[in-house]
């Protein structure tokens, strides 16, 4: 029986952002990793942690673009590391944490800042999970919930130029979620979502760069939702001004 062929490897130089608690600033550490052409940036990071530095921190889980945990900046682009092949990146791979979210350590960002606006919007698109009916629940968790469409990777927030300069901006992820609820409520709290979105730091702060939609790995189209929300909010105001009440709600 023929031996399975091992694909040839070649060296890749990884420049990885490092910053631990108490460090005055960030730095970049370089690692040389041999990978074959099928491997991804996430494979490279796992190899670095296994072979070079076990203190390197990064988030990951599913390895197939489903969980959204391995969002990071690779050579300046906001991507999921698990589906970004190293052969597409040349010989040097610079890996940084997502931008516009607080940094915890190395490549790990504080996702609480990402979820905050979802709470203010009335937690749109959060629904009871139908996927895991028999799953064990952690203490205090009554029902398992999940988001629709959005895989909560934070890539849209990192790619958005406005989120980079306005800390009060609600951000494309939460506004996109609010957009789905407003346009297609399915018994969700449409009024709270529209009130959250129709704000100077909400849909009116967006400057139509569409980086969020372009970067989104799950085609949730937050930019398109923001634009459609603007039309809805504007029509809603006209109705109120001309005495038709908040008919859209």
């Amino acid at each position: 029986m023929a031996e399975p062929q091992t694909p040839p490897t070649r060296p890749f130089r990884f420049r990885v952002h490092r910053r631990k608690a108490g460090d005055a600033g960030g730095r970049y550490d370089s690692f040389e990793v041999a990978l074959d052409e099928r491997r991804t940036v996430l494979d490279g990071l796992v190899a670095i942690r296994r072979e070079h530095d076990p203190s390197l921190t990064f988030r990951h889980s599913c390895f197939h673009a489903s969980c959204g945990t391995c969002g990071m900046r690779v050579n300046g682009a906001d991507v999921l590391a698990c589906v970004t092949q190293v052969t597409d990146l040349g010989g040097e791979v610079t890996v940084e944490p997502l931008a516009n979210l607080p940094l915890v350590s190395d490549l790990v960002v504080e996702m609480g800042a990402f979820y905050g606006p979802f709470d203010r919007a009335g937690r749109p698109l959060v629904r009871e999970s139908e996927m895991l009916p028999g799953a064990e629940r952690a203490e205090g968790v009554e029902v398992l919930t999940r988001y629709e469409d959005c895989i909560e990777c934070g890539i849209c927030v990192s790619a958005c130029p406005v989120a980079g300069s306005d800390p009060r901006y609600a951000g494309p992820a939460a506004l996109g979620a609010a957009g789905r609820v407003v346009l297609e409520p399915r018994n969700a709290d449409r009024a709270t979502a529209l009130r959250f979105a129709d704000d100077e730091h909400g849909i009116w702060r967006c400057h139509v760069a569409y980086e969020c939609t372009e970067a989104c790995p799950s085609n949730a189209d937050p930019g398109g939702h923001i634009m459609r929300l603007r039309r809805t909010a504007t029509a809603d105001r006209f109705r109120r001004w001309f005495g038709a009440g908040r008919a859209a709600r």
Binding site: R19, K20, A21, G22, P54, S55, T57, R73, N75, G76, A77, D78, P97, A99, N100, L101, P102, L103, V104, S105, V109, E110, A113, A159, P161, A163, G164, S165, P167, C206, H207, V208, A209, Y210, E211, E214, A215, G223, G224, M227, R228, R230, R231, T232, T234
Partner: protein, 138 residues
């Protein structure tokens, strides 16, 4: 048996704010069409504001008599100033046409075709710019 290195967990970190800031608007890495349009719209906007003040200053020459105005007209025919005119026309065209895209898309009109709208408007802008450049240097 090989000796295993103990890994001490890092202490709990206080998250560090890490925004790209306004200078991040001009970071070319990972930038796509809409991001470039966003950045260039800001640059052309600032340029047009600066030009407005320059324009008002030039118009003020009229109050200083025909000699002052004629001297300025001679200066304005300098090829370098004509290149500046072309840059100005580019700025006006880009800012105006991209503003039209932002206005239309921003109210949900052709939101799903915003990239095609941008390319279409820029083609129109490029044609107008070529014609204007030929006329400026004619």
């Amino acid at each position: 048996m090989s000796e295993q290195r103990p890994v001490t967990p890092a202490p709990a970190a206080r998250p560090v704010e890490r925004r790209r800031g306004w200078w991040g608007w001009f970071d070319p890495r990972g930038r796509r069409l809409g991001g470039w349009a966003f950045a260039l719209n800001r640059l052309t906007g600032l340029g047009l504001v600066a030009y407005l003040y320059l324009h008002l200053g030039v118009l003020a020459l009229l109050a200083r008599g025909p000699e002052a105005w004629d001297a300025f007209v001679d200066f304005a025919l300098n090829p370098l100033v004509l290149v500046g005119d072309v840059v100005l026309i580019f700025g006006m065209l880009f800012h105006g046409l991209n503003g039209l895209r932002v206005g239309l898309v921003g109210y949900g009109v052709v939101a799903s075709r915003q990239a095609a709208l941008f390319v279409g408007l820029m083609i129109i802008g490029a044609i107008v710019l070529v014609v204007a450049t030929l006329r400026v240097f004619a």
